[in-house]
């Protein structure tokens, strides 16, 4: 048995949770790791400061896809503030296997993409004069 490719990781890779598109995401971002060709689009449906819905599409290695699957499960229903506070180490704990330095970028791409989506969303709200209503976009 391979430490890195445990059954549940492969399971998440083969049948990722929350894989698909949101019809009207309030925040979204396409993140990529051009060096390996990993590419993930994260879509979030936020209301009242809570991540109500989340979905992702993309292609990439087992680590990046399983990481996105696990992360989306984790953040659904959490407050934006809590999601923003999530650290790479927390995600790595969630993934639960040992990631070598060369694969860190793969493992963290999902979190990085979520962070970008949230930051873009926050910036949009500032621009819109602090209005609390996300404008929804892709």
């Amino acid at each position: 048995m391979d430490d890195l490719y445990r059954d549940y990781i492969l399971e998440h890779y083969r049948r990722p949770h929350n894989f698909g598109v949101l019809e009207a995401p309030t925040a979204s971002y396409e993140g990529s790791n051009p060096l390996c060709g990993d590419r993930i689009t994260m879509m979030l449906g936020i209301s009242d400061g809570v991540v109500r819905e989340v979905a992702f599409t993309g292609r990439g290695c087992a680590i990046s896809q399983a990481s996105a699957s696990l992360l989306t499960d984790e953040i659904k229903g959490k407050s934006v503030a809590d999601v923003e506070k999530m650290t790479p180490d927390q995600l790595l704990d969630l993934i639960g296997i040992e990631i070598s330095p060369a694969r860190l970028k793969c493992a963290l791409l999902s979190l990085d993409t979520v962070a970008h989506a949230l930051a873009d969303d926050a910036a949009k709200k500032v621009e819109a004069g602090g209005s609390g209503a996300g404008a929804g976009a892709s």
Binding site: C61, A62, C106
Partner: protein, 425 residues
């Protein structure tokens, strides 16, 4: 387009064979094991080669016993260092049959050599509307410097396309030459497809159209006989670290009159004849292009590598690697169900095979192989546009060198079956 320049009429038809099992003892790293106790199966020689003892000791010998600066010292150690450094020029010239060691400019790697030509020759000779012809299979090193140049000078890039088999299309090359490009720059051997391009024929065609020719020999010089005079090239570049030499070594070869007409690239010590506060005069070729203290240790190591390769005989090296790639192209599709292999048939290629397993990202392939001590590369191999051409995000690549043995290709096949098993369990 078939290539005769690199075999040449005067060469033996039946080249001597290597004994790779025997020469493996020259490579100390091949007796190491990984963290899990697995012996090293190094199939990433196209990224960088392993180093034989002769090279390791050439570097170590300089560092331990005569680590002086060169060219200006009058004491014994400095003369010894200068001698060893300049001998490397002669060795490297011999390796690629350059007519004159003074046409060998030492650089860090092939990348620096191409940038040197782009900055020095390019900025003087490429103007508004001038075009440079490249190919779709270039390494970023032979693409991005030209992008920067034509951006600055408002010139154009054109690309020779490739077939689905990964071979250049000569009829389109012909058409592009009607644009009367100033330069044609192409790789002698592709680091992703393995394709060996017909360097002499392409050079002749380019010259007939009035273009100069730069050849990226990073994947050729380590693996086959290269004769820059027979090819007729104007610029030829390669890296030492891929030809059994140390990191930090490499060479630009160019015809003497080109080098003499070119302005300096970097400026500083050793490349000058006279310096005044507001003007300077340049040193002779090749020193004009070697500013500052060079990587003496590495270049001396590259000299030892050139000796080692010439000792084996480049015909024998090429024959050995042809055997390996023929073996791999036969074995892998039989032993690894669903494997997708890119690039041309063995007769047109050097010793490397890029591939994918269905539904498995090459990073995962490489990671699982690593646990068996098998080193392959996964990614775009610094050839993103080529991957785009095939609509691939990435590939895995196994690449060979003189020390590679068929047993390692067997191990790769076993490893790949294990990858499939894990992913399909």
């Amino acid at each position: 387009m078939t290539d005769t320049a690199t075999t040449g009429p005067q060469r033996q038809t039946a080249p001597a064979r290597l004994d790779p099992h025997l020469l493996r003892t020259d490579f100390p790293i091949l007796s190491t094991v990984n963290r899990l106790g697995k012996p090293l199966v190094y199939l990433d020689s196209a990224a960088t080669s392993l180093k034989p003892l002769a090279v390791i000791e050439a570097v170590d010998g300089y560092n331990r016993a005569y680590s002086a600066n060169i060219h200006r010292g009058i004491y014994e150690m400095a003369e010894r260092a200068t001698g060893a450094y300049e001998e490397t020029r002669a060795k490297v010239a011999r390796l690629i049959n350059a007519p004159d060691p003074r046409e060998i400019v030492f650089v860090r790697n092939a990348t620096e050599a191409i940038n040197l030509v782009a900055y020095s020759w390019g900025r003087r000779n490429i103007g508004r509307g001038d075009s440079i012809v490249l190919t779709e299979m270039e390494h970023h090193a032979n693409l991005v410097p030209w992008q920067l140049l034509v951006q600055e000078k408002d010139g154009d890039l054109e690309f020779v396309p490739i077939t689905d088999d990964g071979v250049l299309r000569p009829e389109v090359f012909e058409v592009l030459l009607h644009l009367r490009p100033k330069l044609v720059a192409f790789t002698h051997a592709s680091n992703m497809l393995g394709t060996i391009n017909p360097a002499r024929e392409m050079t002749e065609m380019a010259h007939a159209a009035g273009a100069l020719v730069l050849i990226d020999g990073a994947q050729a010089v380590p693996h086959m006989p290269v004769d820059v005079q027979a090819i007729g090239a104007d610029f030829y570049v390669f890296s030492g670290h891929k030809m059994l030499g140390p990191t930090g070594s490499g060479a630009l070869w160019a015809r003497r009159e080109l080098l003499e007409a070119m302005p300096p690239f970097m400026a500083g010590g050793d490349m000058i004849r006279e310096v005044h506060l507001r003007r300077s005069e340049w040193n002779d070729v090749p020193y004009k292009f070697e500013a500052g203290t060079p990587d003496i240790a590495a270049q001396i190591g590259m000299g030892a590598a050139a000796d080692y390769l010439m000792g084996l005989g480049m015909d024998a090296v090429a024959a050995h690697e042809k055997d390996l790639v023929t073996y791999a192209l036969d074995l892998l599709p039989r032993e690894v169900p669903g494997i997708q292999i890119y690039g041309p048939a063995a007769e047109h290629r050097g010793g490397l095979v890029s591939f994918n397993l269905p539904g498995i990202h090459p990073h995962d392939v490489a990671q699982i192989l690593d646990r068996s001590g098998i080193c392959v590369r996964a990614g775009h191999h610094c050839a993103m546009p080529l991957h785009e051409r095939f609509d691939l995000a990435a590939t895995a690549r196994a690449s060979f060198n003189v020390y590679t043995i068929p047993e390692e290709i067997d191990a790769l096949a076993v490893g790949l079956r294990e990858v499939s098993r894990i992913f399909n369990r």
